[in-house]
Every structure is written in structure tokens, then in C-alpha cells.
Amino acid sequence: MAVLRTRRVLRPAGFDELGLRRALADRMLPFLVAAMSFLAALTMAGWVGAASLARHWQQGAGSALTVQVPQPQEPAAQGGGSRLARVVGLLSGTPGIVEVRPLDDEELADLLRPWLGSGAERLALPLPAVIAVRLADPELRLDGLAGRLGTAAPGTLVESHGVWIGRLAKLARSLQACAGLALLVVAGVAASVIAVATRAGLAARREAIEIVHGLGASDGYIAARFAGRATLLAATGGAAGAVAALPVLLALGSLAAPFGAVQPGFDSPGGVLAALPAALWLTLPGLPVVSAVIGCLTAQGTVRSWLRRLP
């Protein structure tokens, strides 16, 4: 390591003995890597979005029942107390139910926001109480529960959504897997593009390589020259692709905002930052780094493999 560092310091900056500035030109390769980086950014957004949906839905699947109680504060038909309290009491006493939780006003507003906007509470609508019920087993059948609740508080609705929420969560996980596969494909195409460019560079600089090889340059020395150039070009392309993807991601983020818990305002401080999930902000700067690593490793492998034809 110390030897490598010393050698790097000793080499004059920009010394290009193999003429790679022309052989690995600074336009086509960065452009193609930028295109891959752009696609990777969009795919990552899909991954993060699917992960977020899966998380939300899986949390929802835990509450396998939703119970709506209209006029919750009216007296119950049976048993005394308010309709809401009676229904909560009945649910709590039912075997197989592990949690009964009436949603508060803020959670109700969150639920209604996609349909009524953020001012739902100002509309003075007669909203039902909503109770999230978690079952010990989402497949548990509660025969007669709806009838008992309807008798105690007529008009009460019991909605079981564990099965379809579970299916949606599976769909979201499948989307995540597809996004992961697409990322692998994009990385593979990027590596192929860099390998082809490196091979073209090897063909163009064959004579210079043979001369340098004949002067005692090791495979590592020659491969490092190519890898250095490919790393620089791939990192440039990766950064350009990430920057180009940013406005698209922000636009998508603003479209998706009404479905999230927080509505970002682009005019508010930190609004742009809040427009994208933190996971995307953390992974976007990683694109030039990953591009550089792919460029470096691909060029190293391609050149070392090619050099084996020399004695």
C-alpha cells in the first residue's frame, strides 16, 4: 500500500504514456454511463416507492379488521354508554382479537386526505369513528361478530382487509424484486459498455501497450492506466445521470406526495429535500461512486484478461 501511494505521488499528473485520452474518448462512454445512471436512479425510485408501499400495507395488514361506527357518541342500543364505547367493549371481549384501537382525529384526517384534502376537519362532516382491530391470526374467522356489533350499535360496518392487503404487500415486494433485477441488468449493461470501450481502447493502443509491456511494465501497471481513465469517465457519466434524473424524481415525488404522510411544499424551507424519501437522497450520490467502481473493476478485468495473450 505504501509502495502504491509512493508511486502515485511520483508519477507526473496527467502523464498518459498509452495515449488513453484519445483511445478512451471523453464523450461516448460518459454519455452511455450517464444513460445507465439515469435509468438506475429511476429504478431506485421505484424500489424505494415499492418498499414504502409494502411497509405501509404490511402495517395495515396487521390490523386485519376495520370497524366503522356512525354517530359514535350517541347512546348505544344495548348495554349503556356511547355506541363507540359499546363496540370497543364488545371487540375487546372477543377471543382472537389482540388489539382494539380507535383512530384519533389526526389519523382520520390522514386517511381522508387523499379524497378530501388537508382541510377535511373544517368541512364539519359527520364522520364515523374508525377502530383498527388486530387479530391474533389474520385468517381467523369471526362468525357473528358483525351481527353482535350491529345489534349493539346499528349501522356499524366491519371490513376485513387482511387478505387483500397481504396480496398488495406481496405485489409490492414483487415490484421491489423487479426493481432489484432491473438494477442488476442496468449495472450489467454499464459493465458491458465499459468492457467494449476498453477493448476498443486496447485495440487502438495495441502497439503502445506492447512497447510499454516490453519496457517491463507489469499487467497491474498497464491495467491501472486503463482503470484510472475508465473510473474517471464512468464517475463523470454516473454523476451526470444522477443530476439529470433529479428533476424527474422531484416531479414524481410531488405527484406521489398526496399519498404520503407528509405533503412537501417546494416553497417552504426544506421543501425540496422533503419531496424525496431520505433513502433516495442517500443513494443518489452513490450512483457516481458505484459507476466508478464498475468502471474500475471492468477495465481492470478486461485489460488483465487481454494482457494474458502477451508473454
Binding site: 509502495v3 509512493t6 508511486r7 511520483l10 508519477r11 507526473p12 502523464f15 498518459d16 504514456e17 495515449g19 484519445r22 502497439e207 503502445a208 512497447i211 510499454v212 509491456h213 516490453g214 519496457l215 517491463g216 511494465a217 507489469s218 499487467d219 501497471y221 494474458r308 495473450r309 502477451l310 508473454p311
Partner: protein, 228 residues
């Protein structure tokens, strides 16, 4: 220093001795020993195999058969990673110069030192001194295409000797030089030989050989006719 023992060399269609189907043999059963610090001419008509013999010595090819030992290393069995270190100890003056066209004369001469990882300060001093010695101090930053044939050859010579090689090989090194420059070059080779470098010079120039008598390896049709 250099030992050839029953060496045969044939080029494959892929252009090297080690890949593809072997082609016609260009060297047959060549055996000789060059002691450390010796000076030898390599003589023979065109097509006799002089360049192939030199290519074996500067490790551009491996022998197809026989045993080749250079600096105590058996080349036919040595691992690839062992060869760069050996090549750094060998200086070669090629018939076609083999300079890198995109580098200046200075950078061409400096290349072996940079590959060997020498400090840049030492490289600047050594290369400047060497270019002064071959009369190209004023053309240090000029690229090969802008130099005459003789000047390019002097750059090639400077590059071959800048690393103070243990083995110096030259293929027709005086072909593009006038008599005065050729004499100067022979003085350089003799001086390096006196300092311990083993020198082998392939040439057609019989008058040069006559003026600088030394043992000669004589090749004809890929066979070593003997040492004279």
C-alpha cells in the same frame, strides 16, 4: 547471464510462440552462453533469424522448445509475473525505434524509469543528462514525428540505456546514423560494456564489425553457425 540450450522457435498464426498452432520453425537447436559483461556481435543475412533471437532475449516470445536462461531464470517455465522485473533489466534498441508517437522525446526516454517507479527528480536529472549526451537537449519536448530518422534513433538509444540495463540488445542500431554518430554510439556501447553491461549488437555492417572486433554469433537459416 544468457544461456540458450537447444532452443527452437516457431511462430503460431496468432503471432506468438505460445498460442495457436505452431507454424514453421524459424530457429533450430540454437545453443550458446553469453557470459556476464561480454560484448557480442550477432551476424547473418536477412531472414537468418537475428531478430527472432533478439526477441527471445528481450522476452517478447518464449521458446517453443529447449531451455532459455536469462539472469538465472528459466524463461520457458517462469511465471508471467516474474518477467516484467527481468525486462526492466534489459535495454533494447529496435530497428524501427518503437517510440511512442504521442510522447515527447523527454517522456519517451523517461518511460523506463517511470515504469520502474523512480523518483521524478532523479528522472528529470538523468533524462536531461542523457538527452544532452545524445545531442538532443534542445529537442527534449519535441515529438518523434518532428524528429529526423537519426534523431529518433538517438532517442531510442537513450531510452534503451537510461535504466543502466544489465543486458543491452541492439538491432541494426547504426542504420540511420552517419559515421560520426555510429562511432559515438559504439563508444557508448563499449563504455557500458566496460561498466559491466552485457551487449549484443545485431548488424549487417561488416565495416563496423571490422572496426570493433569482438566475438560474434553467426546465424544462417535459423541455425547458429558458430561463435567467431
Amino acid at each position: 547471464m544468457v544461456r540458450f540450450d537447444g532452443i527452437g522457435l516457431s511462430y503460431s498464426r496468432a503471432g506468438t510462440s505460445s498460442r495457436g498452432t505452431p507454424g514453421t520453425e524459424v530457429l533450430h537447436d540454437v545453443s550458446f552462453v553469453l557470459p556476464e559483461g561480454g560484448f557480442h556481435w550477432l551476424l547473418g543475412p536477412s531472414g537468418a533469424g537475428k531478430t527472432s533471437l533478439l526477441r527471445l532475449m528481450y522476452l517478447a516470445v518464449r521458446p517453443t522448445r529447449g531451455s532459455l536462461t536469462i539472469f538465472g531464470t528459466h524463461i520457458e517455465t517462469a511465471e508471467r509475473r516474474a518477467l516484467p522485473g527481468l525486462r526492466q533489466r534489459i535495454g533494447v534498441v529496435f530497428q524501427d525505434f518503437r517510440l511512442l508517437p504521442h510522447l515527447s522525446a523527454f517522456d519517451n526516454v523517461a518511460l523506463p524509469l517511470r515504469i520502474a517507479g523512480r523518483p521524478e527528480g532523479q528522472i528529470r536529472a538523468d533524462v536531461s543528462e542523457m538527452l544532452r549526451w545524445v545531442g538532443l537537449a534542445q529537442q527534449a519536448q519535441v515529438r518523434p514525428a518532428e524528429l529526423s530518422g537519426g534523431e529518433q534513433q538517438r532517442v531510442a538509444i537513450a531510452r534503451a540505456v537510461i535504466n543502466r540495463p544489465s543486458l543491452l540488445l541492439a538491432d541494426e542500431p547504426t542504420g540511420n546514423l552517419d559515421d560520426a554518430q555510429a562511432m559515438r554510439l559504439m563508444q557508448l556501447f563499449r563504455e557500458m560494456n566496460r561498466l559491466g553491461t552485457t551487449v549484443v549488437v545485431a548488424t549487417h555492417n561488416e565495416s563496423l564489425v571490422a572496426r570493433h572486433p569482438a566475438p560474434a554469433l553467426r546465424l544462417d537459416h535459423g541455425r547458429l553457425l558458430g561463435r567467431h
